[in-house]
């Protein structure tokens, strides 16, 4: 994938995906590898996302590269009315790779078509966030030993959650089965359920949390946001129904792990945090290794990795 942008998880073949996960694993075993020595990575955050930005910047720093960029559109040229195209073409002069987050869907693909240097999409509105998907896959493979034949339970906002949509599409390549747990108003979109049907992959849909996680390998929690509900009463009715608590983990499989893209609000109770099945903080750490792998591969520096 040298010099190719990473805009969408769909840009990667199954082989490329697995090779990137292998590379991430090598970085986890040996994180101090200055393969980006002498390189500059620009992080352009047209909307704020502190965690994602810090994760990328940590990855560049671990690789011995330098970071330039901005984290608030208000303080950047965007506020002065400079178009996205102009920003990308300008910053491409100053950097070897651009990491961008932008609220408009499709902006990363457009930037990639325009840019002389590769683009890594760090989120384009509700569309794609491929490095998040990579770190989710890495976390699943690491905790389960394989990506194949996993039973993945997805909980919360399954209608608007791009994280779960991308993860579903990725895990479908590895013969996963799915359980969707959400309020009626936030169910998995029909298009994705049709996709699973076409692939012959099994899924179930439920509205109740505790009783449907017993045979899970992965429980992937997401936030249920008030603003997603047309009826505020409906939100009040369901807001506590999708909160994972420690006692619900009793009777779940020993290999089961709880994942969450973070930040959480209250959907995972803090009493879960010190359970050995809570994996979401390590999952965030895995994001650094996944991003190290992605940037190294895109810049064609894989040969330098020990």
């Amino acid at each position: 994938m040298t010099n190719k942008s990473l805009v969408s998880i769909n840009d990667l073949s199954t082989d490329e995906l697995v090779r990137l996960l292998d590379l991430a694993e090598r970085f986890e075993q040996n994180p101090a590898q200055p393969v980006l020595d002498g390189r500059i990575v620009a992080t352009l955050f047209f909307e704020p996302s502190t965690r994602t930005r810090l994760s990328f910047e940590s990855a560049v720093n671990r690789l011995g590269g330098r970071v330039i960029g901005f984290s608030e559109a208000a303080s950047s040229s965007v506020a002065k009315g400079e178009s996205l195209k102009d920003t990308i073409l300008t910053v491409a002069n100053y950097s070897d790779l651009i990491v961008m987050r932008h609220p408009i869907e499709g902006s990363a693909r457009w930037a990639a078509e325009m840019s002389p240097v590769p683009i890594v999409n760090a989120g384009d509105g509700a569309n794609q966030h491929p490095t998040q998907t990579m770190l989710d896959l890495y976390s699943i493979r690491k905790t389960q030993g394989t990506l194949y034949n996993q039973r993945v339970v997805m909980v919360g906002d399954l209608k608007y959650g791009r994280t779960v949509h991308s993860l579903l599409l990725a895990m479908a390549q590895f013969n996963a089965s799915f359980v969707f747990i959400s309020p009626k108003e936030l169910q998995m979109p029909l298009e994705l359920k049709q996709f699973l049907n076409e692939r012959g992959l099994r899924f179930e849909e439920h509205t109740e949390l505790a009783e449907n996680i017993k045979d899970a390998d992965i429980v992937y929690m997401t936030r249920v946001q008030r603003e997603r509900f047309s009826d505020p009463m409906e939100y009040e009715r369901v807001k506590n129904a999708y909160v994972l608590r420690r006692h619900m983990l009793e009777g779940t499989k020993p290999n089961m792990r709880v994942l969450h893209p973070l930040p959480r609000v209250n959907e995972i109770h803090v009493d879960v945090d010190d359970s050995p099945k809570a994996y979401y903080f390590t999952q965030a750490l895995n994001g650094v290794f996944a991003r190290m792998a992605i940037m190294t591969a895109i810049l064609g520096l894989t040969d330098r990795v020990k």
């Binding site: 969408s8 769909n10 178009s83 996205l84 408009i104 869907e105 499709g106 902006s107 693909r109 457009w110 384009d124 509105g125 509700a126 569309n127 794609q128 298009e191």
Partner: protein
């Protein structure tokens, strides 16, 4: 035979192209996509002819004009069953059908209001996700635009 009489009712051309089997409601879209509203050739068209296959259809005849394959395929989204007769000296010398292309540039608006193609005023580009129903997937925001929601630029 019946068909032939209907053709005649839109007057024959000596040289040029006849486009038949256009859904009547999409006649003006075909005219606009092929840029026929901006050329000086003689054009005749007729609409609301009965067709057993497709309800009401329209026909366009363009004198002294021949189309490239790529040009013709651009009308696939509005007239996937259109048939072309290439006329030379009043005779049909070649017949062509429209093929739905793999990719469509321009013509259609992405139905996702949050898509960059609607925000920055940049050209649209779609991959044809389903040829039979002409369902499009935006190459930028990756959302589906289906025939029921299709708006033309």
């Amino acid at each position: 035979m019946k068909e032939d009489k209907k053709h005649l009712s839109v007057s024959a051309i000596q040289n040029g192209t006849v486009i038949d089997h256009i859904p009547a409601q999409n006649l003006f879209k075909v005219i606009s996509i092929l840029g026929l509203d901006g050329i000086s050739n003689q054009i005749t068209f007729g609409s609301n002819f009965g067709s057993e296959k497709m309800g009401r259809k329209a026909i366009v005849k363009i004198a002294d004009k021949y189309f490239e394959r790529d040009e013709i395929n651009r009308i696939a989204i509005v007239a996937p069953n259109a048939k072309l007769n290439i006329i030379k000296d009043y005779e049909v010398v070649e017949k062509m059908v429209v093929e739905v292309p793999k990719e469509i540039r321009g013509i259609v608006r992405c139905m996702n209001p949050k898509c960059i193609t609607n925000a920055e005023g940049i050209g649209t580009r779609f991959e044809v996700a389903d040829k039979a129903s002409v369902t499009l997937r935006c190459c930028y925001c990756e959302k589906i635009t289906d025939p029921d929601h299709m708006e033309f630029l």
